[in-house]
């Protein structure tokens, strides 16, 4: 924290002048970007509709209450499907993510080129949203739960493997060295030295991902990939707003329950 000498004595400043300017410059650039982005977006916006939004909201809001509880019995099966998509998808992803993570971590990979391929798989699968994977898979395997499950699985491979391989890279190497010093083979070093250190992370990542996937699988039905999203988009298309409310409440409940379960399980593991 520099001080500047002036006639009245030293003047205290929080930062040096150059640093201050850099920070102001940074904010200015940020502001410019924001204004430019806003202009682009507003050019493509039909403002008439936006000004009309409050009326739309109150209109749809009115039509959404009361929720149509008679629709509930038809929702149990979609909820079951939604949970299955998330659970089986996560299970498939974890089975693939663990070996991929071991091949990708720089301290366990057999070769640099293998590592590069694995890192590409990780980044490619996790960059693309599960809804996009579902869109493609519906074309390949047809609409339904299978497409959704595979989509969730593919998206989660990258998401899980990234967290796991990072934790493999952060292990305590001394414990592995000790196993090496007893004459343990490479495979034994993994099972005794590395696996116990990352096992809690692997379990935690699985549960964490499952929670995210429950949320993610509620929308896959929009592109026909199974789950409660099918009912949601169907009800919206026919403007059955009271049914929509029921579906939203069911989604809310499912997500809350899954969040609660995952917090409990994670607490028990760690």
């Amino acid at each position: 924290m520099p001080t500047i000498e002036t006639k009245e004595g030293p003047l205290w400043r929080k930062r040096t002048t150059l640093k201050q300017w850099l920070i102001w410059g940074g904010w200015l650039i940020g502001l410019c970007i924001a204004v430019y982005a806003w202009q682009l977006i507003s050019e493509k916006t039909i403002w008439m509709f936006v000004w009309d939004a409050p009326r739309q909201m109150s209109d749809i809001g009115e039509r959404m209450v009361p929720p149509d509880w008679s629709y509930m019995p038809k929702l149990w099966r979609p909820v079951w499907d939604t949970l299955n998509i998330a659970t089986i998808g996560t299970a498939i992803a974890m089975c693939l993510a663990v070996p991929i993570a071991f091949l990708a971590a720089h301290n366990t990979t057999p070769h640099k080129s293998v590592r590069a391929v694995m890192l590409f798989i990780i980044v490619a699968t996790r960059s693309v949203n599960s809804l996009i994977w579902a869109l493609l898979l519906v074309v390949i395997v047809g609409p339904g739960v299978l497409a959704g499950t595979i989509a969730i699985g593919i998206r989660s491979i990258g998401g899980c493997a990234k967290l796991i391989y990072e934790s493999i890279e952060e292990i305590d190497p001394k414990q592995v060295e000790a196993i090496k010093a007893t004459g343990g083979s490479r495979a034994q070093q993994m099972v005794y030295g590395i696996l116990p250190q990352v096992l809690p992370t692997i379990a935690g990542v699985g549960v964490f991902r499952w929670d995210i996937n429950v949320r993610g699988s509620t929308i896959l039905g929009i592109v026909g990939a199974g789950g409660i999203g099918i009912q949601l988009s169907a009800s919206i298309n026919v403007l059955a707003w009271t049914q929509v409310t029921t579906i939203l409440i069911v989604i809310l409940g499912t997500v809350f329950v899954s969040e609660y379960i995952s917090a409990k399980v994670r607490g028990a593991i760690i």
Binding site: Q175, I179, K180, A181, T182, G183, V191, Y192
Partner: protein, 267 residues
């Protein structure tokens, strides 16, 4: 018998950690390796079991040359050398029993070790060793539940269950308080005597080295500058190894300050 001949190690960074070291350790001898930080003590014992590969020179354990072994032969050679580490290097999340049994990894195959199906005599020996170091009641505890001294005792068991000919001991007391340090050093010496084991012990604490070893080797900048009886460590010799300091007091009584446990945290 362990024989090092003209051993040198240069790291990729260019540091010469060992410079032409020649050393012979007969069976059953307890050697303390002293020297300032960075003198190459740690590198030397890691060269012996090839956790670090020496740049030039040869190492013989008995009539077997350690340098230049294939991977499979190296595994066999490593199981003849037990190693004890500074920070214990136990696998924190495994039980004591698994940690001790992991000393047999060089003998059992992968599937046996994966399903924890060790031969009966290994399990019996593991129980015997844990009893010997007074940890029988904690067999199923996880290693991260133990105190420093207890962990180091498990580390010793893991090294001994290998049934080694040689113990490589890297700063066994650096993370322990003075009393526990003495107990651990005494335990190591007793066990070496029981089993007629040779041992190389890296140690910072000159007084402990004098108390528990038969022979002291002083290392400075990768070269041996002293090799002889503990009584021969005169102030002149210590000055030669470590540099100028008032050594009289160190030799007479143990310098405890370095070993104080780190619990200076505020309440």
């Amino acid at each position: 018998m362990l024989r090092l001949e003209n051993l040198s190690k240069r790291y990729k960074t260019g540091d010469l950690a060992l410079n032409n070291v020649t050393l012979e350790i007969p069976d059953g001898q307890l050697v303390a390796l002293i020297g300032p930080s960075g003198a190459g003590k740690s590198t030397l014992i890691r060269c012996v079991n090839r956790l670090v590969d020496a740049t030039t020179g040869t190492i013989h354990l008995g009539d077997r040359e350690i340098t230049g072994l294939s991977n499979k032969e190296l595994r066999r050679a490593r199981r003849r050398m037990g190693m004890i580490f500074q920070e214990y290097a136990l696998v924190e999340r495994l039980t004591l029993m698994e940690n001790v049994l992991s000393g047999r990894l060089g003998y059992v195959n992968f599937w046996q070790s994966l399903f924890r199906k060790y031969p009966k005599e290994n399990v019996r020996e593991a129980y015997r060793l844990l009893d010997r170091v007074d940890l029988m009641h904690m067999v199923d505890k996880r290693a991260d539940e133990l105190s420093g001294g207890q962990r180091q005792r498990v580390g010793i068991c893991r090294a001994l269950i290998q049934d080694p000919e040689l113990l490589l001991v890297d700063e066994p007391t650096a993370s322990l308080d003075p009393k526990t340090s003495r107990q651990i050093m005494r335990l190591i010496r007793e066990l070496c005597e029981e089993r007629k084991l040779a041992a190389i012990i890296n140690i910072h604490d000159v007084a402990l080295a004098q108390m528990f070893s038969e022979r002291v080797v002083g290392l400075k900048l990768g070269e041996i500058v002293y090799d002889g009886a503990p009584e021969g460590l005169t102030p002149e010799v210590l000055t030669e190894i470590y540099g100028e300091e008032d050594w009289e007091k160190t030799i007479e009584k143990v310098d405890d300050e370095d070993d104080m446990p780190n619990d200076g945290e505020m309440a």
